[in-house]
Structure formats: C-alpha cells, structure tokens
Symmetry: C2
Subunit: 341 residues, 2 copies
Amino acid sequence: MRIILFGFGIVGQSFAKLLLSRSDDLYTRYGIKPRIVSVIDSKGYVISQTGLDLERLLQIKKNRKSVYEYDYNVTLKGLRDELDIDDLLSLDAECMIDVTPSNLKSGEPSLSYITTAIKHGKNVITANKGPLALAFPSLIELARYNNIMLKFSATVGGGTPILEFAKHCLKGDDIRALRGILNGTTNYILTNMENGLDFNDALNDAKEKGYAEADPSLDIDGYDAAAKLVILANWIMNRKVTMKDVEFSGIRDIKKEEMNKLLKKGYTIKLIAECNDQLAVKPREVLKSDPLCVNGTLNAVTFVSEHSGELTIIGKGAGGMETASAILRDLIEIREDLGKI
Amino acid sequence: MRIILFGFGIVGQSFAKLLLSRSDDLYTRYGIKPRIVSVIDSKGYVISQTGLDLERLLQIKKNRKSVYEYDYNVTLKGLRDELDIDDLLSLDAECMIDVTPSNLKSGEPSLSYITTAIKHGKNVITANKGPLALAFPSLIELARYNNIMLKFSATVGGGTPILEFAKHCLKGDDIRALRGILNGTTNYILTNMENGLDFNDALNDAKEKGYAEADPSLDIDGYDAAAKLVILANWIMNRKVTMKDVEFSGIRDIKKEEMNKLLKKGYTIKLIAECNDQLAVKPREVLKSDPLCVNGTLNAVTFVSEHSGELTIIGKGAGGMETASAILRDLIEIREDLGKI
C-alpha cells in the first residue's frame, strides 16, 4: 500500500515509528505492507517511488532538518514552496495521509490538499479537524462522488476510538444525543481550578506542562471543542452542520469562587460539547460522580442511546503515538475495504 | 430469519418488544425480517413454522401464563418436560437464542441446548454466562468445527458493548491488560457503604430495590464477575481459561470503618476483575478520580492498550431492554455474515 504523507511533525513521526515497530504484525494480521512514497514537511518534500526509508527520515528530523535533506534512492525532492500539489498527488499511491496543523479559520492548506487528493482518486486519512469542521457535508459528498474513502478517526479523541465506537458498536440502536469533554487543555485547566488555582495560574501551569499553546485561544475559547462537535454531529447523528451552526463559549470567565461553591455541593464545572436539540459548547455544572466527569487532560463522551442507555467512553484525547494509532486503524479499514473490491 | 427462542423471562420478553418496535427499521436498514418459530419458557413450548405472533405471546406472559397457552396457528405445543430438545433444534431455523437463567455450577441446561443447537447447524446467540464461563474454549472450538456463529455480547456488560468495543475499535493495537467493575449489584452495595451504610444494611437495601437476589451469593462472593472475566479473557486476550483459573473473593468482609478511612485519603473500595499476569476478582483500593470508579449499578472496564493508552467504557450492566439490545446487535451481525456467503 503506497502512501503520500503530508506533514511530518510529532504525529507524522509517531506514525512512522508505529509502522516500523509493527511492520511484521501488519503484514501477517492485515496483509498490509505500507510504503511511504512521499513525505512533505514544513520546509520541503521528497519522493521515492520505490519507498522511503523511515529510519533515515526519522534520523533527519532528530537532527532538526527537513526531509529535503534525505538523499537515498530519491526520485525527486525540493523546497515546499516549489511543490506542485497537483503533480505530487498524481503519483501512484492508494492513500494520502494528512497530519498538517489545524487551521479552523479557512481549513487551508489542508482543505486544498484533501480535495486535490480526492480528485486524483486517492483515499484520504486526515488527523486535521479544520477542513472537516468547515466543510464536512461537502467533503463527504465529494468523496462519495469520486468513490474514495475519507477517514478521520484521529480528529476526535486522539487515540480514543470515539467515532468508531458510536458507528460500529451500537448497531440496531439509535443515538439520541451526545455530550462530551472534547478538549484536554481546558479540562486540565478546570481540574487545576478545582485544586484551588485561579484561571490565570491554571492556564500558566498548562502552558508550562506543554498542554496549552502560547496563544491558547483555540482551546480556551471553545473553537477546538466546537470543531470536534461538528465532526461528531455529522458522522454520528447525520446532522449537516459546520462550525457556524455551533453556539460556543469558553472558560475564561469562570471564577475560582464559583467553582468552590459548586464543589461543596458535589458539582464541578466542565466545558461540555453537546448535540441534542441544540449544538453547543459551553461551561456546565456537572455532578462529580457523573461518568463524564474526568480529570486532567482526559477526554470523555456520553452517548444517549434509545435501548442501551447512556454509554460513556473515556481516554487520552491527544498524544503523538495515540493519534498515530488512530491513523493506523483508518489505514487498516481502508486496506480491508480495498480487499473487498 | 427464523429464530428459536429458549427462555421467555424479562430478557426474552424485552427482546420480543424490541423486535416489534423496530421491525420496519430492521428490514430497511439491515434486511432482517425476524420470525420466531418457537418459544420455550419454564413450563412449556410452542412451535409455529409460519411464525409466532409476538403480541399474543407477550399478552399471555402479562397474564402470568406459559407460552403453552398460545393457540393461534400452532404447529406443535406441549409441556417443557415432554420436550425433545433434539427434535426441536431440528426445526428449520437460522438461529437459536438462549436467554435462560445462568447456572455457574454446571452450565446446564443451557450448555446442552447450545451444543445441540450447534450440532444441528444453528447459529447461536446466548445471554447466558454459565456455559461460556465453564467451557469457553471448547464451545468456540465446536462452533468453528461446525462452521456456525456463536455470539454472546449480552453476557458481559448488559447493553454496554464491552466485547465489541475491544474487538472492533482497537484494530492495529494490542490490549495488554484489562480491569473492570463487572457486577452492578456489588457496586451498588459498595456505593451504599461509601454513603455510610454497613455491609448488611447496604445489602438489604439492594434486595429491596431488586438489585440483589434472595440468595445474593453469586454476586457478592464474586462468581458472577469471575464468569464475565473468563469471557473477556478468552475473547479479548486469547487466554484459554475457565472459571477454575480465576482467583476470586467477594465483598462480605469489607468493613464500613475501612471504607471511611480510605475515602478520607481520596480512595474507595471496588470489586475489581482483572486480567494481566493474573486472572483475579478481588476488592481493591481505587482512586475516587479514576475513570473506572463509577457509582451505583454501573459497570466499567478499562483496557490498557499498547499505543492508544488506557481506554474506559462505562454503561448499565443489566436491564431487560439493554440486554435485549445486545442480542439484537448479535442478530444483525449474524445477518450481515450470512449475507456475505
């Protein structure tokens, strides 16, 4: 299976490590021999039609250089700016994997990469929320029209198979509503506030630990959770919605005193994304004993099903290797579906 | 799809109601037209080769009578004692569903029903832990040899798809260990003890609420959780084990004082079933903030995966409709697999 890999940061490198460590197993259990025929990072790209050596590529990144420095069995290489995406996606390959950083304003450049890949008949796996949050209905339509598979397990819950769970494990049942903690950074900050910190100290601690960005607004103002909610609402509950349909607010205005008062009554405040008669991301009072009420950077989603009752799934919402494992699950599903044809 | 239904108590009746309420949907979404050709309850049996009327059957049970009283379009009926199981299972049918009560000592009579059904080429769905806890490896072997499907989603977690989750949602990953709260009755009692009751008062309250049997020993001495652990260990972790391989103890000896002391340190006591280097069901100290630490009659299982981290799934562990929904999932999977041939 030939793969074009867009992005080679933490997730991309973790994916390469995962392929290396599981290569025997992937072949014997699933009949997959993955071959990366091209990698694109922020500075350059490299193409090898016979397949790139992943250990060499990882070594280059360890030395903080671009994949452009790769120099073994190369078909073509160059700087990112000089790359013609249309040419690149004409390469012989079954799958394009997109692990570029998310852009929740325009979805670019990922949105263009994905639509171009689909038009060239490549199956697509993306870990990037941006394009889906802004254009889920039309991307699914485009993929169907071109008869290709578009997979995105890694966009919600990191390694926690939230999307697969709802889609595969509840056959014959109907999901009526869902609510969840979809952003680990805000959950870490709120957990800090439960432990007595005020918002600013809690945020600074999250920055120090590497959980929050220098500009943390995507997380703490609710954009990231809203983007994931859009994906869940479309995929699990067949709503044709995008970011503009979500009513959302963040956690900036939560006061330590308010938190303390609730804690004494057995409640706490969590940033809850929910899809029922409304589509919203808001701080809510939650019972401490509710299964959804997880601490630290954990993510959790509760599905309200018609016959099986309320079902909750909890796991790490981020992490390079966790996200890479979700991409690998998508790759195995694509392989299984290609096998059926 | 023709079905022979063994057992017509709460779960059997809930399953009949579920089929009635979803009949249109089952046909349009999954191509299933279920037809119950025989029902056996504790007193009698009835056979109708053209299919039994489920509403009439439910009405009979509402009047606390046996299915033996059914009198419409009957091919054959009689008392349970006079029933030749071998004859019954020679009926034309694709599937036998077993919702008879569990027997964790001998697995009977369910074990004989299941083996006879398999030998007659019927696909089997069982909600009965007994046969699997005592003979999982040999039942799976027998099913494979006869090329039939043996499904048992309802045996662990009621309506919570614990078995499917581990099997279908973690492709390309390895589950290294699991631990869980698999018995709702003991969890309800322990939650009562957290709230200040001593063991006997907590047990009596569970009896009053209908969560504990008159003889509660299957639950509180750990048998029920051990049986479910055997099923998980075989199915998820490929261990060839039965009840005799589980080291287990119950919750009778837990003291209120001990619980109080732990609570002050942020811990509580839960009856934990675990499969790692050992296979055990024992009361354990668990952090109150651990995702596994659910209250009341809830069930929860944490899977320790190699790449996706720790994943927890939480839901109701019992209930007629919840268990029926798990049986329906199995039926849909059988239909999908039959369709492939």
